[in-house]
Amino acid sequence: MLSLAIWWCGILLEALLLFRGLKGKFVPQYPNFYIYVLSLFLTDGLLYVAYVFRPEIYRNWVWYPGFLVLFLGWGIVLEVFRHVFSRYAGVEKFARVGGFFVLGAMVLFAVAYPVVSPNESTAHNLYIRLQRDFLTVQAIILFLLLQLIYYYRIELGRNLKGMILGYGQCVAVTLSAIALEAHIGAKFESSWILVQQLSYLASLVIWLIGLWSYCPDPPPDATIGSDGNYSALASRTRDMVSAAGTQLIKVERL
C-alpha cells in the first residue's frame, strides 16, 4: 500500500513538474532534464495502467523502461555540464577531460568484467548491473563536477542547484542501496526498494522546489585574462611549485 501511495505521489509530482515548466515557459532552457522527467512520467503512468488492468504485461515489461530512463539520466548530467561551464571554457575543458577519463575507465571495466566473470544475463540481472555501473560513473562525474564548482567558486542559480541536488542524492542513495542489496541478499530487497522509492520521491520534491520558476545562473563578476596571460601565470606558478617543494622537503626532514 505504501509503495502504491509513493507511486501515485510520484506521478502527481512528475505531472506538476512538467506543468510548472510548461507554464513558466522554461522547458526549452533545460530540454534534457524535461525529456528525462517526461520519460519518467510516461513510464510510471503506463506501467501503473498495466499494473492495474494487465498485471502479466506489467510483470514482463517492468524492467525494460528502466533501461531507457537509465540512459536518459545522462541528460541531466549533460544539462548540468552545459549550464555550469557555459561561461568558463577552461574549467569546462578540465571537467570534460576528467569526465572522459572516468567514462573510459568504466566502459573498459564494463567490457572486461563479463569476460573475466561471466554471469546469467536475464533482463533483471543485466538491468541491476548496468544500473550500478551507470550510477557509479554518474556519481564520480557529479562528484568531480561539484569539486570544480567548489574550487572555482562558480555561482549557480536555484534551477541548477535543485537539479544537481535532487539527482545527486538519488544517485548516491540508489548506488548505496544496490551495493547493500548485492551484499546482504534477498532479505534486504523490500527495504532497498522502499529506500529507493523514498529517495526518488525526495528528488521530485527537490526538483519541484528548485524548478518552480525560472531562475538562471548569475553571470560572473568580471571577465579577466586571456590565453596569453594564463601562460604567463602558469610559468610563474611552476617556479613557485619547485621553490615551495624545496622548502617543504626541508620541513619534512626536520
Binding site: 568558463y88 571554457a89 577552461g90 574549467v91 575543458k93 578540465f94 577531460v97 557509479t136 556519481a139 564520480i140 557529479l142 562528484f143 561539484l146 569539486q147 567548489y150 574550487y151 572555482y152 567558486r153 562558480i154 555561482e155 549557480l156 542547484k161 544537481i164 541536488l165 545527486g168 542524492q169 544517485v171 548516491a172 542513495v173 548506488l175 548505496s176 551495493a179 547493500l180 548485492a182 551484499h183 560572473p220 563578476d221 568580471a222 579577466i224 585574462g225 586571456s226 590565453d227 596571460n229 594564463y230 601565470l233 602558469a234 610563474r236 606558478t237 611552476r238 617556479d239 613557485m240 611549485v241 621553490a243 615551495a244 617543494g245 622548502q247 617543504l248 626541508k250 620541513v251 626536520l254
Partner: protein, 189 residues
C-alpha cells in the same frame, strides 16, 4: 566486501560533496576579490611574514630572561601567552594563504587556456603548504613555541615565496585593481 565498501564510499562522498559544494559563498574573480587578494598579500608581507617578527615570536631570549628573573608561575604564564601568539600567527598565515588560493582559482576560471595539469599541481602545492602549517600548529600546541624554530623558518620562507609569485600574478591585474579601487573609493564618497 570490497565492492560494498567501494560503492558505499562513492555514495557517501557524493552526498558529502552535495552538502558542502552547493552552499552559497561569496564569488571570487570580481573587483571585491581583487581588493581582498591585495589585502591578503599586504598582510602576509607587511604584518606576518617579516623575518624579524617571526624570529621574535619564536626567539628563546625572552624565555631565558623570564627564567632568570621570574618565578615558575610567571614562566608558565609567559609560555601560555607565547604559545597563543604562535598559534595565532600560524592560523593567520593559513587564512591569508587560503585567501590567495581562492583568488587564484577565481581568476584562473576565466581563462579559456586553463591547463588542468598546471591547476592540479598548483592545488597540490597549496595543499602541501597548508598541511605544513597544520603540522606546525600541532607541534606548537603539543610542545610549545620553542621546539621547532627551523620548521617555522621554512614555512615562513615558503609562504613568502608564494606571496612574491602571487604578487607577480596580480601585477597584470593592476588596471582591474585600480578600477576596483576607484569604484570602492567612489562608493565610499
Amino acid at each position: 566486501m570490497i565492492q560494498l565498501i567501494l560503492f558505499l564510499s562513492i555514495g557517501a562522498a557524493l552526498l558529502f560533496a552535495l552538502t558542502f559544494s552547493l552552499r552559497p559563498r561569496r564569488a571570487e574573480g570580481g573587483s571585491t576579490a581583487l581588493v581582498q587578494a591585495r589585502q591578503a598579500l599586504s598582510v602576509l608581507q607587511g604584518g606576518l611574514l617579516p623575518a624579524e617578527m617571526v624570529a621574535r615570536v619564536f626567539d628563546r631570549t625572552d624565555l631565558d630572561y623570564v627564567e632568570l628573573h621570574g618565578s615558575s608561575e610567571v614562566r608558565r604564564l609567559f609560555l601560555e601567552e607565547r604559545t597563543r601568539v604562535a598559534l595565532l600567527w600560524i592560523s593567520r598565515v593559513r587564512e591569508q594563504l587560503q585567501s590567495l588560493r581562492e583568488f587564484h582559482a577565481g581568476a584562473a576560471r576565466h581563462y579559456a587556456g586553463l591547463n588542468p595539469l598546471t591547476e592540479l599541481s598548483l592545488l597540490m602545492d597549496f595543499t602541501r603548504l597548508m598541511l605544513a602549517c597544520r603540522i606546525l600548529q600541532a607541534f606548537v600546541y603539543l610542545r610549545g613555541p620553542y621546539t621547532a624554530p627551523r620548521i617555522v623558518g621554512a614555512t615562513a620562507a615558503t609562504a613568502a615565496r608564494v606571496c612574491s609569485v602571487s604578487q607577480e600574478s596580480l601585477a597584470f591585474l593592476t588596471p582591474a585593481y585600480a578600477a576596483a579601487g576607484g569604484n570602492a573609493a567612489r562608493r565610499a564618497q
